[in-house]
Symmetry: C2
Subunit: 390 residues, 2 copies
C-alpha cells in the first residue's frame, strides 16, 4: 500500500431542522460580516432564502446571487470585489456544487489583488495566501465539494473549465436531505452519475487497489447510489433516498476513497472539455462518457478490478470473464435507466468539429498520456468522443 | 436516517519512513516541551525509541515509561505530575492503544488539579477544561484510539475499567505498518478481533442501519480484517497485511461507522468487566463473548442484519434463514481460526463467582437494559457469561 496523508476538518451537520438552532453560531464564530452566495431564484421560491436570512439576524449580511451551473469566472470576480469592499469575515454558500465551488475561490480571492482567474490557472498561488472560512448549506447531492478543497471554474472566453484546489475544506457543511426534495429528475440523475463517476475514477488506480478499506468504502458507496438514485427519481420526497445520496456525495470525494492512489482521473477532464465547449450538465456528460471509457480500459491486466466490482457491487456470480463483461453491461444499463441522454447528440452535440482540440486539451490538463490509470493519447480521447456519438 | 454531526481533525500520516522527515515538525508546531510516553521495553528493543529520540533532537524531552496493557490510573497520575511539573506543551505517545489512551487523559489532567480518576468517572469534567495536543506513533492495530477521542482506563483498587471521552482526537497520528511486524501472534489476533468487534457493535444499531454508506463502510472494513488477519498471523512481515489491518483499525472507530447510530454498545462493556476483574487481553475477551452475543440478539426482527452481513461480508448465498444462521457460524469459525482461546476457562477464568457483580456493573455502566441494540437484563448478561464458559 502506498503512503498517504489524510486530514479533513470539515464539521458536518447532517440532517433536517438544524438551521434555526445552529446556523447563527456556525457563522458568528468567524465574525459578523458574512457574504451569502447563491444561484438563481430557486432558494427564494423554496423558502430557504427566508430561513437563512432569519437565522442570520443581527449579522452584517452582503449578498452575491446569480452564480450559474458550471460557475463562471465572472461570478468569482464579482465576489472578489464584494469580499474586499465589505471586508467580509466568512462566506455562507447556499446551493449546489457550483455555488460552493465559486465561493471557495472567492474566499481565496479576498487575499489576492490580481484577477482571480490567475488562482484557477495556478492553484499554488492559493496555498501562498489566506482563505476566508466557507460555511455551506448544500441543496444538491453531486459534487462532494461540501467536504473537499476543490472547485471547478469555467472561463467562456478561453473555453476552459479547470479544477483548482485550495488550502481548506469548508469549515461547516449543513447537509439537509429535505432541501433536495425539489431537485428535478434531470439534476437528480446528473448528480447521482457525478457521484458514481467520482467513485469509478478513484476505484481504478494502479496502487490504491491494494487498500482494501478503500475498496470496501468505494464499493459500499457505489451500492448506495445504485440503490437509491432510482428511488429518488420515482419518489422525490423520499427522505432516506435523498439522505443516502447526500451522504454518498460527501463521502465519495472527501479524500478517503483515494487513500493510497497514484493515478490522475480520466473521464472528468474529458467531460470538462464538453462542458467548456457546450455548457452541458456535467453529470450527464460523465454518464455518456463512462461506459466507453470502461470499454477502453478493459484488458487482461485490468480485469481483476472489473471482477471485484461485479461481485461486490453488482452482485454478479460466475466465472471471472463473464463477471467482468457483465459489470460493464450492468453499468451501462443502470446509467441508461436514469432517463438522461446516453449519447452526445442527445445533449445537442451533433458534430465532431471540436473533438481534436478537446482531446488535446484533456490530455494536457490531466497528463492522461502518462499518469492516467490506462494511459490515453489524443487519438484515444478522440476515439472515445467519437464512440459517444452513438 | 438519523441526524448526526461528524468532525474529525486528526492529521493521518500513513506509511513507512516518515518519522525522520516529519516527526520533529509535527511536535514542534505545539512547542518545545514534549512528554514522550511508552510502555515496556519493546520500543527500545526494536530500535524505535532511538529513532524517536533522534528525530526530537533539540526539543526538551521528558519521559513516562511503563504504561501497561489495560492502562491503569496510576500511570495517568504519574503523567499528570510530569506534565504539570515540566509545563509540557505536547505529548508524544509511542505505542498501542494503552499508551495512547493514557496519554489522552494525561493531556486533560494537566489542566485539572484533583485526582485524574475524577475525569474518568465524569467525562463532562474534561470538556470544561483544556487538553494538551497528543501526537502518536502507533505500534499496534487494534483500538482505533489513534483517530478518536476515547480512552479506557482501569482502576484495580475499585475493579473498574471505564471508557472516557475527551474534547479532542490526536492532533497527528503516524501509522507505520512496518512498526507492527514484531507484534506477536497473540496480540495480532487480539487486535484484529478488537477491530472486528468495533464493527459489529456499530453495525447492529436500530437506526444506523438506514445509512447505506455506513453499512458499506463497515462491511468493507470487516472484509478487510477477515482477509488480512490470517495473513498477518502466517506472515508477520507482510506489509500489505499489516497496512490493511492498521488502516482498518483507524477507520473502524473514527466516527464514520456510527453516523446515524443511536444504540449503546453491548459486548465491550461486558468485556471491560472481565478485564477489570481478571486483567485478560481485551481483544481475546471480545472474541470469546461475541458469538454468544450474536446468538443472543438473533431473532426474526434482527434477521435482516445477519442476512446483509452474510451476503456482503461472508459471501453467502441461498435463502435468508440459511444465510443468517451461517453468518453466525462463519463468524465463530473465523474467530476460532485466529488461534486464541474461545472460552473463559481458556483465559484462566474458571469460576462464575463474580458473574453477578460483573453483569450488574455492565448493565449499569452502558445502560444495556434500555439503550442496547437488543436490551439486556442482568440475567441476560449472566447467561452470556455462563455460555462463554464452554
Amino acid at each position: 500500500m502506498e503512503n498517504f496523508t489524510f486530514k479533513n476538518t470539515t464539521d458536518i451537520r447532517f440532517g433536517k431542522d438544524r438551521l434555526e438552532t445552529e446556523l447563527q453560531a456556525a457563522i458568528a464564530q468567524f465574525g459578523p460580516k458574512v457574504l451569502v452566495t447563491y444561484g438563481g431564484g430557486s432558494i427564494k421560491k423554496s423558502g430557504l432564502y427566508e430561513r437563512v436570512i432569519q437565522a442570520l439576524a443581527g449579522l452584517d449580511v452582503t449578498e452575491l446571487s446569480g452564480i450559474e451551473p458550471n460557475p463562471k469566472i465572472a461570478s468569482v470576480r464579482a465576489g472578489q470585489k464584494l469580499v474586499k469592499d465589505n471586508d467580509i469575515d466568512v462566506i455562507l454558500a447556499v446551493g449546489g456544487g457550483s455555488v460552493i465551488d465559486a465561493s471557495k475561490v472567492i474566499a481565496s480571492a479576498k487575499f489576492y489583488d490580481g484577477d482571480p482567474w490567475d488562482l484557477v490557472l495556478d492553484s499554488k498561488k492559493r496555498f501562498a495566501i489566506d482563505q476566508l472560512p466557507v460555511v455551506d448549506i448544500l441543496t444538491l447531492a453531486a459534487t462532494g465539494t461540501e467536504m473537499n478543497t476543490g472547485s471547478v471554474i469555467s472561463n467562456p472566453e478561453t473555453k476552459q473549465k479547470l479544477g483548482t484546489g485550495g488550502p481548506n475544506t469548508p469549515s461547516v457543511s449543513f447537509l439537509d436531505p429535505s432541501l433536495t426534495f425539489s431537485v428535478s429528475k434531470w439534476q437528480t440523475a446528473a448528480g447521482s452519475i457525478d457521484i458514481f463517476s467520482h467513485l469509478t475514477e478513484q476505484y481504478f488506480d494502479q496502487k490504491g487497489y491494494e487498500n482494501d478499506v478503500r475498496n470496501g468504502l468505494i464499493e459500499g458507496i457505489m451500492r448506495t447510489v445504485i440503490k437509491w438514485a432510482p428511488v429518488a427519481l420515482r419518489e422525490p420526497d423520499n427522505y432516506d433516498a435523498r439522505a443516502n445520496l447526500m451522504w454518498a456525495s460527501t463521502m465519495a470525494l472527501n479524500g478517503l476513497p483515494r487513500t493510497g492512489n497514484v493515478n490522475s482521473w480520466s473521464v472528468h477532464p474529458i467531460e470538462h472539455e464538453l462542458s467548456a465547449y457546450y455548457d452541458i450538465t456535467h453529470g450527464v456528460g460523465l454518464g455518456i462518457l463512462t461506459p466507453h471509457w470502461l470499454d477502453f480500459i478493459y484488458s487482461a491486466d485490468t480485469k481483476p478490478y472489473f471482477v471485484s466490482l461485479g461481485r461486490n457491487v453488482w452482485d454478479l456470480a460466475g466465472d471471472d470473464d463473464a463477471v467482468a463483461t457483465q459489470t460493464i453491461a450492468k453499468t451501462r444499463e443502470w446509467l441508461a435507466s436514469l432517463e438522461v441522454p446516453t449519447t452526445l447528440p442527445g445533449v445537442g452535440i451533433e458534430t465532431d468539429q471540436d473533438f481534436e482540440a478537446m482531446a488535446k486539451s484533456a490530455v494536457q490538463v490531466n497528463h492522461l498520456d502518462h499518469n492516467a490509470f490506462v494511459k490515453m493519447t489524443v487519438a484515444d480521447v478522440r476515439n472515445l468522443l467519437e464512440a459517444s456519438m452513438k
